[in-house]
Amino acid sequence: MRNYFLSRLGYMLVTLLIIVTATFFFMQLLPGTPFNNPEKLTEQQLLSLNEKYGLDKPIALQYFIYLGNLLQFDLGLSFQYEGRTVESIIGSRIGPSALIGLQAVVFGTAAGLLLGMISALKHNSFLDYTSVFIAVLGMSVPSFVFAALMQYYLGVKLQWLPAALWRGWEYTIMPSLALSVMVIATVARFIRTEMLEVLGQDYVVTARAKGLTEKAVIVKHVVRNALIPVVTMLGPLTVGIMTGTLVIEKIFAVPGLGEQFTLSIMVNDYSVIMGITLFYSSLFILVVMIVDILYGVLDPRISLKGEG
């Protein structure tokens, strides 16, 4: 068990290193400079700024300096916000994103499970077709379309919910809902397929042959076994939420990490872009590891000892 975790940790670090390296060198390809109004800077000012941020050194050296700082959890200074560290920027922005992201995952998963399970239990009925239609719609229409529609109808026309900004819990509702559409659709489709698969298994017939009530068969044998693989959806869902927040936060003017990320890309704030990318990657890698561990706990056929 310990060996397993150690080797997993090793893989995680290697993955992160690859991501750092790739992001670092791709960043060099971004057009423009990270400084405000570069055209107004004199040659001399530019040189001193480059020196201040270490941009005058060779790329390879810059890379190793970055790695060295990273080992001390130092993500560097922002170009855009004078004197602020990248860590403090991420720290001040993560709250709203985490809140709407979590709300979207929790609500979306619950709604998706409900929709998908009803769909599977009423296979080939009108209800099933309706929920499949909703799922396909939710997966193929980008979330910003729902966001814009909601903002216009619920926010502007009906004025049921605040159309934008961040001044209390009611401001989180629409961004969370917009993000959750994708979650609902993905989870619904996934659990429906899993349930149908399990419903066709021999052991479900065995359970019925024992005389269990239909409810007991569904709850104890079908749902339990269909739910286990759903944890594997956590990885893709995290990615979906992260990319979703980039646009959703912009639309609803949520002061979150996604909004900061798009902003930083716009102004070439190298260190913040790097920092947020690393943060997103670490989060994803962490989730993938949690999923693996969770799967091992939930499914007795998988033993963590035997791996790695």
């Binding site: 296979h123 017939v205 065995t206 042959a209 269990l212 339990r224 076994n225």
Partner: protein
């Protein structure tokens, strides 16, 4: 003999894109207390559908019991509500399935799976249920039951899993056990052990068994009475001796001669019945076996034969039994010899 189950004129169909599949067509038989009735026939002849109909475990979406009665303990199971049927399943009538690799829930301990039935049908404390489960596992020959009870199916071999399934089926002391090819998926030696176990438990608890198989060797070893099924119908039924020594139906002859014989020359190939069973959604007119039957008469292709009673226990559906039919001698070498396999299985 006390009759405990009686099936009368059962018709079961499936509906698919290709139309109606008439899987069971007019099946009738009785089962007596403590005896074993074997249902034999090639794959696709409707044995499993018959078994599932008795338990009412057919898929609801596409199947229908079109006609017939299944009488058990003064009730007609065909008419029973779902809820009443649930009370009967596992407590009065149990089932053992073909593939022990798939018939157990992979994410539930075997102890829980055995206990589930007990708790459903008997009021007992958790502790009593646990003790009783350990006893049951011991009864079916699982070593270390106290420890094994908390393990998962993947930690058991195929034979051991089938023992678990049998323990599950017998948990509430049912009057009747339906075993659908219980040993087909197992190695020959394990097969013999499982059959021995079933016989032993049957003696102990006086359970009636419907044993479904396509292996006549298993039949010879286990059954007192035999029903031969083909294309959804029972072609011939009788006592073990009647079916093995005085078979009347060409299909039974075919099955018997395709069975390995202990004393025969092993180098000779087995002679399976040529041809394939008919498409159940487009049955030919007349006797369903006619296209494959080397004794077929003209009438066989036009009209289905009626049932002829050869003795009080022996019934055949074949035109050859009609008094106007030419006398046909059953082929050489069929009957008698096959029972030699019995000692082989019991002794292996």
């Amino acid at each position: 003999m006390e009759k405990i189950l009686s099936v009368e004129n059962l018709h079961v169909s499936f509906y698919s894109d290709g139309g109606e599949i008439a899987a069971v067509r007019g099946v009738s038989f009785d089962v007596n207390k403590g005896e074993t009735l074997a249902i034999v026939g090639e794959s696709g002849s409707g044995k499993s559908v018959t078994a599932k109909t008795l338990m009412k475990l057919l898929p609801k979406q596409n199947s229908i019991i079109k006609q017939g009665d299944v009488k058990y303990g003064g009730k007609n199971l065909v008419q029973l509500t779902n809820r009443d049927m649930e009370k009967l399943r596992g407590s009065e009538i149990s089932m053992v399935f073909q593939d022990p690799m798939t018939s157990l829930n992979p994410t539930m301990t075997i102890g829980k799976q055995v206990m589930e039935g007990l708790k459903r049908h008997r009021t007992m404390s958790k502790k009593t249920a646990y003790t009783r489960t350990v006893e049951l596992l011991e009864l079916v020959g699982i070593p270390d039951p106290g420890e094994r009870i908390n393990q998962y199916p993947h930690q058991f071999s195929g034979g051991m899993r089938q023992r678990v399934v049998i323990a599950m089926a017998l948990a509430c002391n049912p009057k009747m056990l339906i075993a659908d090819e219980p040993t087909t998926a197992l190695d020959v030696t394990i097969q013999a052990q499982i059959l021995e176990l079933m016989k032993e438990l049957q003696k102990k608890f006086q359970t009636a068994i419907i044993l479904i198989t396509h292996d006549l060797g298993v039949v010879a070893n286990m059954a007192q009475r035999v029903a031969v099924m083909y294309a959804g119908e029972i072609m011939e039924s009788g006592t073990l001796d009647e079916i093995f020594y005085q078979p009347k139906h060409p299909y039974t002859w075919g099955l018997l001669s395709s069975m390995p014989k202990l004393h025969a020359d092993r180098s000779l190939p087995l002679t399976p019945i040529p041809g394939t069973p008919p498409d159940l959604s487009h049955l030919p007119e007349g006797c369903p076996f006619a296209p494959r039957c080397q004794y077929a008469l003209k009438v066989c292709h036009q009209y289905e034969p009626g049932k002829t009673k050869v003795s009080t226990t022996h019934t055949v559906s074949c035109w050859l039994e009609d008094e106007r039919a030419p006398k046909v001698k059953k082929p050489e070498g069929i009957g008698g010899m096959q029972r030699g396999r019995q000692s082989k299985i019991a002794g292996s």
